[in-house]
Amino acid sequence: MYAFEFERPSTVADAAKALGEEDAQALGGGQTLIPTLKQRLAMPSKLVSLSGIAEIKGVCKADDGALCVGGGTTHATVASEAKADYPALAALAGNIGDPAVRNRGTIGGSIANNDPAACYPSAVLASGATVVTNKREIAADDYFQGLFETALDEGEIVTEVRFPVPEKASYQKFEQPASRFALVGVFVAKYADGVRVAVTGASESGVFRWSEAEAALSSNFAPEALDGMAPPADGMISDLHGSADYRAHLVGVIARRAVAAAS
């Protein structure tokens, strides 16, 4: 790792101020950023740890019924505290990486990084969640902008994610066994006004909504509604773990499993 200064503020306001410096970088749980720094793929002048900020930690319920998850909340906390209100989200969080990773990694860090194989972006997009930052609120449909790209400005901090709670939902993934990232992951969420389906791990442009599946499931929420369906292989990731065709096929399979498991 290159050397950097380290700051651990206790309020969002102080963190935002520290991030105003050139080449300063926010640190969530560090489960992606620290390996990146070790490989010298990043050279921040200063790391601003968000782990000491109590106001962005925890899970709560808003007046409109939405589940609010603080940006600094670990996967382990979401797995236990969202269980009653949004079981599919809790299950997703409880299957990210391994237990030690889940005790450090945070939702804000995951969606700020927007790894194309990360689990959380699919939940945020399929739930039509709102990403709240220290500056504004961003709709999930506007937030994810491609591989490791988001609507966040430099130094902007994810303080909360607000999830409208669906009637039924499930996240299923086909795990790449070495990295435990999703080779393909599909989050299906059924709301009163329709079904949303978000796919992670598969596309070269990161998480995306599979609109054909949404239309089919909105008229018939059953695995059979997706029989024979798969998104086009065009633009799917092709690597040693699976070809583009394989991933496209897997999206259909995993989506059917998610519908079957939705509760």
Binding site: M1, Y2, A3, F4, E5, F6, R8, L27, G30, Q31, I34, P35, L37, K38, L47, S49, S51, A76, G97, D98, P99, A100, V101, N103, R104, A178, R180
Partner: protein
């Protein structure tokens, strides 16, 4: 250089570190506690697992400064002061849950975290919980057996496949 202070195995510990100093480096090089092993240094293998405020974490993927004021537990604090092994360590010995022993500190610390949260895990739950701890010697069977025995369960029925 910044100063960091924490409690390690119940005793106060502090030292000068850089921003980039990892918790594993602080434990091993500043405090000289080399029981915490660094295997892969890429948060895959889990040999470096310690507890921070009661939670299992990979100490190679956490900065020492993040542990400021924290209560840290390492493998050195598991046995009694007179060297008597705790239940998990004794079960690893009894059931041959180690061969070369490199992964063992992380395995024991992960097992302790598991049993705290789930005192009577099933075999499948033990295997799932250990997904972030790699052992290249044992094939895991005796590790799983040791952890289940440490939880007070009968392990006679667990076949060594």
């Amino acid at each position: 250089m910044p100063q960091v202070s924490m409690t390690v195995n119940g005793k106060p510990a502090s030292g000068e570190v850089e921003g980039r100093t990892l918790l594993s480096t602080f434990l091993r090089e500043t405090l000289g506690m080399t029981g915490t092993h660094v295997g892969c240094d890429t948060s895959q293998c889990g040999a470096c697992v310690v507890h921070v405020n009661g939670d299992a974490v990979k100490s190679c993927t956490m900065f020492a400064l993040e542990a400021e004021g924290a209560d840290v537990a390492t493998i050195e604090g598991q046995a009694a002061a007179d060297g008597t092994l705790n239940a998990i360590q004794a079960a690893f010995q009894e059931h041959h849950g180690l061969q070369c022993g490199f992964c063992t500190p992380g395995m024991v610390m992960s097992a302790a975290a598991l049993l705290k949260e789930n005192p009577k895990p099933s075999e499948a739950e033990v295997r799932k919980y250990l997904s972030g701890n790699l052992c290249r010697c044992t094939g895991y069977h005796n590790i799983v057996k040791a952890i289940m025995a440490a939880s007070g369960q009968d392990v006679g029925a667990i076949a060594a496949e």
